[in-house]
Symmetry: C2
Subunit: 727 residues, 2 copies
Amino acid sequence: MKKRTSRNPDPAESAPSPSAPPASASLDGLFRPRSVAVIGASRRRGTIGRELLHNLLEGDFQGKVFPVNPKADVIHSMKSYPSVLSITDEVDMAVVVVPRDEVLQAVEDCGRKGVKGVVVLSSGFREIGAEGIERERKLLAILRRYGMRMIGPNCMGIINAEPGYSMNATFSPTPPVGGSIAFMSQSGAMGAAILNHAKSLGLGISMFASMGNKADVSGNDLLLYLEDDPGTSLFLLYLESFGNPRNFTRVARRITRKKPILVVKAGRTAEGAAAAVSHTGAMAGADVAVEALLGQCGVLRADSIEDLFDMAMAFTFQPLPTGPRVALLTDAGGPAIMAADTVKAAGLKLARFSEATKARLRDGLSPDASVANPVDMLGHSGGEDYARCLRIILEDEGVDGVITLYVPPVMHDPISVAGSIFEAARGSTKPVLCVFMARDEVLNAVLKMEGQKLPIFRFPESAVKAMGAMARYRTLRDRPVDETPVLDVDREAAARVFAAAASGNREHLALEEARAVFEAYGIRFAKSRVAKTRAGLGAAAEAVGYPLVMKILSPDISHKTEVGGVATDLRTKEELLAAWDGMMDRAKAIEPRPRIEGVLLQEMRRGAQEMILGVTTDPTFGPLLMAGIGGVLVEVAADVAFRVHPITPSDAAEMVAGLRGARLLQGFRGRKPLCVEAYRDALLRLDRLVADFEGIVELDINPFMVGETAGDCVAVDARMRIDPTKF
Amino acid sequence: MKKRTSRNPDPAESAPSPSAPPASASLDGLFRPRSVAVIGASRRRGTIGRELLHNLLEGDFQGKVFPVNPKADVIHSMKSYPSVLSITDEVDMAVVVVPRDEVLQAVEDCGRKGVKGVVVLSSGFREIGAEGIERERKLLAILRRYGMRMIGPNCMGIINAEPGYSMNATFSPTPPVGGSIAFMSQSGAMGAAILNHAKSLGLGISMFASMGNKADVSGNDLLLYLEDDPGTSLFLLYLESFGNPRNFTRVARRITRKKPILVVKAGRTAEGAAAAVSHTGAMAGADVAVEALLGQCGVLRADSIEDLFDMAMAFTFQPLPTGPRVALLTDAGGPAIMAADTVKAAGLKLARFSEATKARLRDGLSPDASVANPVDMLGHSGGEDYARCLRIILEDEGVDGVITLYVPPVMHDPISVAGSIFEAARGSTKPVLCVFMARDEVLNAVLKMEGQKLPIFRFPESAVKAMGAMARYRTLRDRPVDETPVLDVDREAAARVFAAAASGNREHLALEEARAVFEAYGIRFAKSRVAKTRAGLGAAAEAVGYPLVMKILSPDISHKTEVGGVATDLRTKEELLAAWDGMMDRAKAIEPRPRIEGVLLQEMRRGAQEMILGVTTDPTFGPLLMAGIGGVLVEVAADVAFRVHPITPSDAAEMVAGLRGARLLQGFRGRKPLCVEAYRDALLRLDRLVADFEGIVELDINPFMVGETAGDCVAVDARMRIDPTKF
């Protein structure tokens, strides 16, 4: 049996990385067996036990196959065994397709036989509720006892298309084409559909696994197993849920620096968690964590199965662009306009040609043709025109990639035009994607052309989106590795505050408590003093310093602004006293009369921008950090960005840069540029805080005033909710 | 020749509507000819002149065809004529495919011959610049002289698939299938590509026109011509620009109450107009007018050619849903999740089944199956399961439409399953859309099944989007007809203000001028007085009434808030004086010292919401009205809605209801619901203002304070720019 390490001479491989579980090597027992037993093999056409056996033979599996079925002597012209135990040869892997009640015995037999890996297709486990959960628990116990690894249960099998194995252990009706895509599907049905579609587009796979219930081997295990597999250059994942998001993050962050991972994640609009009290909780939709997590890992998300294929075609057949500048070459205006329309949304730009390029293009085209980008050669253009112009455009240094668009007119042979385009693109280090707006017959003929390695799209928008995904991946792959920030924090001081609240079994921290926690983590608060009486205003004001904000303190008033309970920009003792008098008069007019505990005097930061910082907890993904435009309208403005904890300094920078209101920090309306570094620093400090205390459920700092210098950046108000049982 | 009026016995038809130009009937000369001359007919295969002639014959045109070519005696086994004038029979229509330099003579000959309509395929007109513009001008003059109508020039021809005509006067290589879709394309190449694709999906067309340069017959003319055509039930438009947006609006608004219009509009991201000084101008992207206009007319916009087809399939083959509640019926969890994910974005809801429905579904399915929505029958389900469950679901009163999803497993015959689904859906008044995640061969076999009238989709998301479009169209079609609002305005008063500004050749109106214009149109302003001195504060404040807002008045200070030049909530003379002193002190500290003209005292509206109202002018579409959340952050919040002038009361209501911040008006954070009616009224008054004065270039009212009653709603600040030459 081939070992992974023996297949890759890279010295990094011989010393396994400390973060990779050594168990992953044992997946060879599943994917690289010398012999496979099919337990539940059947003679009856149309049954899974028959089709799977047939696929193994038809696919020319390079090892031995042993049908197992106590009720048959011969299956598919092969000797059949009553039990895996009665096979005299060694058995590396077993595929289990028996009824649910017979699975445990079959797997127990495999253990006794010394089988290394089992693929359980049978259903009737966790997916059917209590009875199945118990059965799955027992199944896992058997595996652990014998040290076997398992794919499934409730799956449609696995494929290893490497020439040395050529193993199709699925019941998919479509035999796969060998290639370099590793594809994992959490749904058997979608897996089959995707294998079908991949074949029709000429996309070849290296490995395939229908993951089923993932009782043992997870998607993360497979990513690790194939991380440095030289036969795999691209991962496609169809996901419905994340088993262990933190593991996925760690693994995917590393892998995406070597190979692209494309994901379709179903279940976007599932209902969110319980009602939240914080702004941050209220803003975090169900999908926000998935979106953030994938982005942080450098994983590309496809919006649909169709998008997934469009992207896979481009990545498989073409090199990555080194930048976003795309050129369009067409014989018809309409498709080029449709393509140009989507360029910006795809994160690309229309390339600007050099004058030399334009002159070369012009020479040989009709005078009515357009040699700017898009290049419109007009409707009489044939293969030679395409080939000549494509070569010229590819040589322009201002072009990172080209999309050709072709609407076959009456006079030309579309197949020969396709051949000319393919020929002109051959060997280019820049990607060329082709749109053929032709009849199905023509399109299929082009797709089946020998030796073609250009991705063919039916619609202009699809090609542009795919080119955009390639450019985005290139940026993600090559982004610098973040240094872990060194933050000076006082963990003990914060722990004391939490302990006090937890001992009183309090979920909600008082403002002063929250403030103490944040200050222990280096997030400064606006200077403030409480004045309980009119007479005490002067001393409190002197301690804080003018100008001041005055806020009424009352346990009965939650929306201070709306009852005139906030006065800003108080610059003198006189203004201060006048504001107190007005505020108290208005408070007295409220029915029922609220209890008044005095006022809070806070320093006023003129010219600062109100931002929000927050944390909420996702039941699957753990803490989510939020940055956004702050103030009372945060939910209406809806200008926020989320990331999954833990975040890096780059994540923090991207969160802020991606806000619609980012320009508020960059010198808005004549204001000086503000100290965005202090805001990003505060995000990293919050990240550290939730790393240190997992009992934090949610928190907001709102507003966090971002001023011109780090010293001008202060939190003004905050709330924090904890789980007292976790301290 | 069939007349339009004779084909439709509707009495409304016999008396032509006053808004329909009588000229439209004359399009019969183009689309319903008894005889066609092909001027430029050719013997040479692959030329347009030969392929077009061939298509006419091959398509079995029911009238006579006359080839015209001075260099040939026989073409395609038919007698050929040296000129259209040498034909002895009457000629209704002529297709012109001669070189550009011969077009004018050919069309002149047509006029002399008494031809009623010409279709000019030749290029070399407006699209090539000055020389072509002149040629097109001459061409139009000839048409007018003889009273002929023309499609083109620079187009690929027209089709009328009605059995009485069966005329394919294009050079498209794909013969069309007859059906009920009228399709107009502004691009010949896209037209050909779309005809190809339509045929592969089984979509039949009634009429097709490649519009070319639209020198004479426009898209609007064709819409009018086919408005009540009984053979046309759906319009597809591929547009690159709008010739006459106001005409389109008027026509499309009426037609969409009878037949759906689906549009792909290319050119979304074209660069916007010149830099704008108003918020409204800054917020209006290039595409905003198109998006608004199409929405106002009830036209459905497809994001891509692919979306256009998905929608067309659904509209063609299925009835409209009466509501948004969709049921999903599947044999695999994955595709159903993908579908459910897009339900909300498509404007649909997942239907909730009655208990009776669930019980009926359960009876006959595996106990592991799910009978909630989505109904997952699990992977062993066949045609009978689909048929039985589909019938049950269609009978549930809580279901408006059904999407079936089918991933063919190994044991079933996909074609027979499709047959069962088709059979169960037959005669349903609710739409059924089908997703087949199958191999291309299977999909093509299903598409070609005899008598099938269900739309087949390859991906779940496409079916959901199509169902969403149908539900949306149903709502648009059935929306109530708006009454024209009766608004009491003083046009003369506003005209005097404009005249004064125009006489001084001023573009920018002073605040007091703008205020006078708006007040003449019934938009009230906050009460205000100017106080030029500290001594004058008292009297001014008494005239306005407390509480007050004080704003510094200086021609040198444009951002008052940032220099401490705004004080709010001043409730007493003392606060007023303190605020004046503070403001003047701060102003004196500014370098260089600004000129101070005093302060403006305005009434303060506590508990009101700051909104914005605005108008900007699009070079093609004319005035655009904007509504949105107001205040200084309007551009950052980016929560605005646009409509093209003129707007209806429903448009105004939709503009407000569609804002993210609409809830700010509905009792936000304990505040009482605000008087949104007064805000909508103000929008309609602005609409009237721009109707009355076309010299208004742009304007903002920001903020417009929306309070609890109409009397509490006032404009606070405004700016207006005019074109002085237009008054």
